[in-house]
Amino acid sequence: MFRGLTVLAGAFVLVVLVAIAAFLIVKALPAFSHDTKSFWTTFEWLPDNTPSVFGVAALAFGTALSAVLALVMAFPVAVAVALFITNYAPGRLAQWLGYITDMLAAVPSVVFGLWGLYWLVPHLTPLQHWLANNLGFIPLFANSESITANATRSIFAASVVLAIMVLPIISAIAREVFQQVDPGLKEAALGLGSTRWEMIRTAVIPPSRGGLAGATILGLGRALGETIAVALVLGSSYAVNFQVLVPGKNTIAANIATQFGEAGSIGRPALIASGLVLFAMTMAVTLFARWIIYRAGAVERSAVA
């Protein structure tokens, strides 16, 4: 009886997943019949114009770029926070810090978006300007329109907001992972005369790699799908380049949020088609993460044996 219920629950998850995929495909199909240019290579989004032009390339690019940038910023900080809480901080402080990072994860994304729009964007201006002036020779920080001196709704600003949003997720899981490390291992490392940092490097990090990869991918999942915070902070355009300080670019989720209300008879399926692409992207990322974690686990098991 109980077995039957659990099988049912397991099957239900699969059914929901398949139903979502089927829904997206069916609702997206009308867009392709009106597609006058290629859906994969067009850098514009005007599906309700005649002729209708729209392409997912720029959106998918912006989605990936903002999520990766956010992870690059958030990962070191999150791991450092988790290490501090598990290995350095005295008991009570560690507990409080743990609560506070968890609380950060409970802040609704629209609040992050509004904070980004009204506070972060203007206060980020000096930093963006400095980066563009001093490191502008790196294509990433190029300032082709010379406007970083203004409050700029760039992919950089959006990534900072995303980084703050994914930080608590990564740090909470990293904390759990570090706490799983066998205290015997740590004591052994210290007993052999390691400093605390050497102990972390030799006894804490290596067995935690798989868990950290999982934490990162969960963070990436949140960053890829984040909608309203990006929609509020990012000034949208459909450009594809690596200049992260200039305004514009767009993500799939934010584009759906900003365009859906006024979308017409082709715009609606076109947006759903872009949602299908996002669905595929997050699925791919999750499967890849599973594979990494599985491999890391396999390596560990073979090392133990």
Binding site: E44, W45, L46, D48, N49, I100, M103, L104, V107, P108, V110, V111, F112, L114, W115, L117, Y118, W119, V121, P122, S144, E145, I147, N150, A151, T152, R153, A231, L232, L234, G235, S236, S237, Y238, A239, V246, P247, G248, N250, A257, T258, Q259, F260, G261, E262, A263, G264, S265, I266, G267, R268
Partner: protein
């Protein structure tokens, strides 16, 4: 402790702006004071009240005035259940077409595909547009010390396409003799979300300036040296944060936030400010181009010679069936007629306070006839 303070500041900021964000595009409906006395304003005859329920959805622009009408209408006719949800014009038209709502609110007229879906929903009878209110779009800027600006359509086109990049450009100076303009760089903010405001602004420019090359529509392919921002709140925040910023917002929002508004040159050659009256004068010249009998879709007349007409103006519509299919109860049809008639007649008194412009009398008369013919 620092982290506490940041969290508290964020929550406070979030709370503050969330209040503004709820009303998304304009006047907060809850705080709208009851114009000229609500009970005296309505001349509904309670004996004509219809006990039925009515659901509408669509344009967020017309949401404040719909909510006002609903609350006043229900004061006299408590048996009437009316709901209007602000979901965007496109989504409203889609819901109307699929038959989940009884009328749609829209800032734009339906395209051919939408019209045919809507006709299908009406049992093969044409779906019609009825103008219920109107509003303008204003151009606002951030330049300390410059309190008044005038723009011709060509100047606006060049500024918003990123071709004029300094405030002291000769083209801007030519529109503003005697105004001392700084050499500050211009930062253009445009709506990143698809919106009726984009549509009104670009339709005006496409019709009045040969220099405008971005076409007309609720989304445009903006040049790379302009910045997008979401909603009236987003673009006005951008301008407030940037000296030299310029953007466009809808009338209700601009007036409510006391933004400086440029005078725009109209077809008669005069520079006109954005007021409810001046928008109504432009709307009075709109040309009705019916797609079917009793349809009141209209096109703005950008060559009209009315001296005080504010040119960046537009109508907002209710979309209804000219004849509802027999599956729709007669009571519901009567309520649609009664409610919309109230809206375009007595309901217009609330327009100015809510940041809309009252319908001119020619459109009220036509609207009454079209609503009367609904069955």
């Amino acid at each position: 402790m620092r982290i506490f303070r940041i969290a508290a500041a964020m929550l406070a900021a979030g709370g503050l702006v969330a209040v503004a964000a709820c009303s998304d595009d304009n006047t907060p409906t809850s705080s709208a004071t009851a114009g000229p006395s609500t009970s005296a304003g309505s001349q509904l005859n309670p004996s004509k009240c219809v006990s039925a329920s009515l659901t509408g959805a669509g344009s967020s622009f017309q949401d404040p005035i719909e909510q006002k009408w609903i609350s006043v209408y229900r004061q006299d006719c408590g048996g009437a259940q009316i709901n209007y949800t602000s979901v965007g014009s496109g989504a409203g038209i889609q819901q109307f077409g699929s038959g989940t709502i009884d009328f749609a609110g829209s800032d734009v007229t339906m395209d051919a595909a939408q019209q045919s879906t809507a006709n299908g929903r009406c049992g093969g009878n044409p779906a019609i547009h009825i103008p219920i209110s109107s509003g303008g779009v204003g151009v606002t800027w951030n330049l300390p010390g410059v309190t008044m600006l005038k723009f011709s359509p060509d100047t606006i086109a060049d500024i918003f396409q990123g071709k004029v990049t300094k405030w002291n450009d000769p083209e801007i100076a030519a529109d503003n003799p005697g105004v001392s303009l700084p050499s500050t760089a211009i930062t253009v903010f445009h709506r990143s979300d698809a919106s009726g405001t984009n549509s009104v602004f670009s339709t005006f420019l496409a019709a009045t300036s040969k220099k405008w090359t971005l076409g007309a529509g609720s989304s445009l392919n903006w040049p790379a040296n302009t910045q997008g921002a979401k909603g009236n709140q987003g673009v006005s925040a951008g301008v407030a944060q940037t000296v030299g910023g310029v953007t466009y917002t809808e009338q209700a929002f601009a007036i409510q936030h006391k933004l400086p508004l440029a005078q725009i040159k109209n077809a008669a050659g005069s520079f006109v400010e954005l007021t409810a009256d001046n928008v109504s004068k432009a709307i009075a010249e709109a040309v009705v181009t019916p797609a079917s009998e009793n349809d009141l879709s209209a096109k703005m007349n950008y060559t009209a010679s009315a001296p005080n007409a504010y040119p960046i103006s537009s109508l907002t519509y209710a979309i209804v069936c000219s004849k509802y299919p027999s599956s729709v109860p007669a009571d519901k049809v009567n309520l649609i007629k009664s409610y919309l008639t109230y809206g375009i007649t007595d309901g217009q008194q609330f327009a100015t306070d809510l940041g809309f412009s009252p319908l001119p009398s020619n459109l009220v008369t036509k609207g009454q006839a079209a609503i009367g013919a609904i069955s």
